[in-house]
């Protein structure tokens, strides 16, 4: 069971990184336009077709 002594801190660290990533995403405006984000996936990328 000693493995828990490593695994739990690792899990917490990962969770903490996820929280940081989330708050960064929120601050950088990624949650400002929820309607647009769901529609943009339907747009084609501007990739030129190979001849």
């Amino acid at each position: 069971m000693d493995i828990l002594l490593y695994m739990i801190p690792i899990a917490l660290l990962l969770g903490f990184i996820a929280v940081l990533a989330f708050s960064w995403a929120l601050k950088s405006g990624q949650y400002d336009d929820l309607d647009g984000a769901s529609q943009r996936v339907l747009l084609d990328d501007d990739v030129e077709k190979p001849e």
């Binding site: 069971m1 917490l12 989330f22 949650y31 647009g36 529609q39």
Partner: protein, 721 residues
């Protein structure tokens, strides 16, 4: 032909001069990068995103353009000339999107804050649960007391910071209530959360077993999800109230010494002379200097048929000039104008609804003092009996936790969720649960006329051939009169080519090689200049179409049903007295208010509210928006204006008003179930509190009894049909 070209040219110049104003709004930073944000009207689909962005980007290199679909704001960033703003606006208008300056942009910081709190609570919940599952499936003997202590400490490490961070919305709301001398549901939630975590922390310190970090974090997360959803609905409503003010161009054409200048609306002074070209809205309130042949007054009166105005008559900002270019003298500045006042009414926060005390809050008013008194009593009792104070405190806190607002907190929302789900199946979409509570108390119903009870109906008799041609073209237009033509024709529509619509003027298209025009007299090229809708088929002579109004299906029966159930039914319309009386006679409605402007409608509403009537407003127009906001409860048809839809409590899809009676029925029924639920959770407390008081509660009993009580109220809610 020459005349037409000249017209086109002058209209282009006109738009150019109006767009010049955008150049002044550009912001430039030190490195020469210009930025500008503009509202873009008419964003409907994914295609619009790419058209708008690529249109602007195609104008030059290294131009950034990003469209926010939610708020319809386009952010542009570029280097070079500031006058690019005008070019971009011009290019977008050529694509058919109208562009307006952003006057009031507010960042919704409150919503962001709630999302952040919810996100953090969500992550914490996931991690705490991971550990709790380990704690639940085994006991201290199997895993060892030290391992259990370790897991408790890890839970504490996650729960305590989360409680301090994510619980802030509740603490702030609770503090605010206390400082105003009120109570709300957030007070027991705050006390419960803090006590649960504090007690769990001391239990962990003293190697005990009463550790409930997981329940505290989970309760907080679920409550926050509810708050975020609630806030999202509210903020979208405010957004459209702000949009109402920018319905106008944001600029006005002021005539000074024979020259026309485009200046921002807010700077126009009283007495200035404004020019309003055809197809544009009057920017401010004023008196006409010459006759205006056709004006679309729907924003103020809600009527879809154009009205003609004479010189010296008063026009209101927001009305649409359908006739030739006219000039007005400004009588009210932007801040005093009718449209501005309407927007203020809509966004004002002191509505009946905000003053309304929700049932849950009423219950908490009685519940909070009783529970806290019981907990105190338990502590005093056990200390008096001779127990050490730590143990007495533990018992008194258990009393608080066992009565924790779980079942009580759930008893209202589960019924609301069920009722909203049932209504949705019937095509009625409620935005907030509390609306159901308010709907249950309604005794008076105000109906708007046009669009709610009646629709325009084509009264010109036409043969099927002609009607088929007209309906095919009209089906491409969203104008209410086009809808009337489409409704009049029951056959199959034909294919239309080269369709084009000019806002405020008309629509034209080619069917079987014939050009069909529908619109104002000048649009179709009639010889006479007259008001009303005209049509021209191929090279035939143009002729006018006439309309009257017809009742929506089953309206008469539904009004009778509502009257039989004891509701007072009132007609409240912006239309003329004659038209209003005709409809009210047909529907047997005795109380009629006609020729009501939005502010008059508000006065009627207030007079009812002063008589302590609980008013339901059913209306669809922009002019109803204020009443929809301030009435006790409100419903609007799905065909209503955007603003009406965001301000109303509920939107119904079905034609006619059958939804009104159904919504009222479900609202009353759900109110009964809520009372039943509150009684059930009170019963649960009557049983559980003495056990807690006696000090017999173990973590297992607590978990089982809490979930059992939640389950009972949920099952009770499912009885709603």
């Amino acid at each position: 032909m020459e005349q037409r070209d000249a017209d086109n040219l002058s209209s282009q110049r006109r738009t150019l001069s109006a767009l010049e104003g955008f150049n002044a709004l550009v912001q430039t930073d030190a490195s020469g990068v210009h930025t500008l944000k503009v509202y873009v009207d008419g964003i409907h689909c994914v295609g619009c995103i790419s058209i708008v962005e690529s249109t602007v980007q195609a104008l030059g290199e290294s131009i950034e353009a990003r469209l926010n679909v939610t708020s319809s704001i386009l952010s542009m960033k570029w280097q070079g000339h500031a006058t690019f703003a005008q070019e971009a606006a011009q290019a977008l208008q050529e694509q058919g999107y109208s562009v307006r300056p952003v006057m009031l942009e507010s960042e919704n910081t409150e919503l962001k804050f709630l999302i952040l709190c919810m996100g953090v609570a969500g992550f914490a919940m996931g991690n705490v649960m991971l550990i709790s599952v380990g704690l639940w499936i085994t006991d201290a003997e199997t895993m060892g007391a030290s391992m259990r202590l370790f897991l408790h400490w890890v839970s504490a490490l996650i729960a305590v910071p989360t409680l301090l961070f994510s619980g802030r919305p509740f603490y702030m709301s609770a503090l605010k209530a206390i400082s105003h001398g009120r109570t709300n549901m957030d007070i027991p939630i705050t006390v419960g959360l803090f006590l649960t975590v504090t007690m769990s922390f001391f239990e962990t310190l003293t190697h005990g077993e009463h550790v409930y970090f997981d329940s505290a974090v989970m309760l907080m997360f679920f409550l926050l999800v509810g708050r975020v959803l609630d806030m999202k609905t509210k903020s979208s409503a405010n957004e459209s109230a702000r949009n109402l003010q920018t319905l106008l161009d944001g600029f006005a054409r002021v005539v000074e010494k024979g020259k026309v200048k485009s200046i921002p609306l807010t700077q126009v002074k009283k007495g200035a002379t404004l020019r309003v070209p055809m197809g544009e809205r009057f920017p401010l309130d004023g008196t006409l200097l010459s006759d205006a042949i056709e004006v679309d007054t729907s924003i103020i009166t809600g009527e879809s048929l154009p009205v003609s105005f004479k010189a010296d008559e008063k026009v209101y900002g927001g009305m649409l000039n359908l006739g030739d270019s006219v000039e007005i003298t400004v009588t009210h500045t932007h801040d005093e104008g009718a449209l501005h006042r309407m927007a203020e009414l809509v966004s004002s926060s002191s509505t009946v609804r905000s003053r309304y005390t929700r049932l849950a809050d009423k219950v908490s008013r009685a519940y909070t003092p009783v529970v806290h008194f019981l907990a105190l009593l338990a502590f005093v009792f056990w200390v008096g009996v001779g127990l050490p104070w730590q143990q007495a405190l533990l018992i008194s806190i258990t009393v608080l936790i066992i009565t924790c607002p779980c079942a009580l907190g759930l008893s209202v929302p589960v019924v609301h969720v069920r009722a909203i789900g049932q209504l949705m199946k019937k095509g009625i979409f409620m935005k907030q649960g509390d609306a159901l509570e308010r709907l249950a108390h309604i005794d008076t119903i105000l109906f708007d006329k046009t669009g709610t009870l009646t629709v325009p109906r084509l009264s010109t008799a036409l043969c099927d051939n002609v009607l088929s041609l007209l309906a095919s073209v009209a089906s491409h237009s969203r104008h209410p009169l086009s809808g009337a033509i489409v409704r009049a024709y029951t056959g199959e529509l034909q294919i239309v080519k080269n369709i084009s619509e000019t806002a405020g003027r008309g629509v034209e298209g080619v069917v079987n090689g014939k050009v069909i025009k529908l619109g104002s007299a000048s649009f179709v090229g009639a010889k006479k200049s007259a008001s009303g809708m005209w049509t021209k088929i191929g090279n035939d002579e143009a002729f006018p179409l006439t309309f009257d109004e017809g009742l929506l299906p089953n309206v008469k029966m539904q009004i009778q049903i509502l009257k039989d159930k004891g509701y007072d039914v009132v007609l409240l319309t912006g239309d003329y007295k004659k038209a209003a009386e005709k409809i009210s006679k047909e529907l047997c409605i005795n109380v009629v208010y006609s020729q009501q402007k939005p502010t008059d409608k508000m006065k009627v509403l207030e007079s009812y509210q002063n008589d302590n009537k609980q008013v339901l407003m059913v209306g669809d127009g922009l002019n109803d928006a204020a009443v929809l906001t301030h009435a006790h409860a409100s419903l609007t048809p799905a065909s209503a204006s955007d603003l009406a839809r965001t301000q109303a409590d509920g939107v119904y899809v079905s034609e006619g008003i059958a939804a009104v009676a159904e919504t009222l029925r479900i609202a009353r029924r759900s109110q009964k179930l809520i009372r039943g639920n509150i009684a059930l959770s009170a019963l649960y407390n009557v049983v559980a509190v003495p056990i807690a008081f006696a000090g017999f509660i173990t973590p297992l009993i607590a978990a089982v009894s809490m979930s059992a009580s939640s389950l009972v109220v949920t099952l009770n809610a499912l009885r709603l049909k």
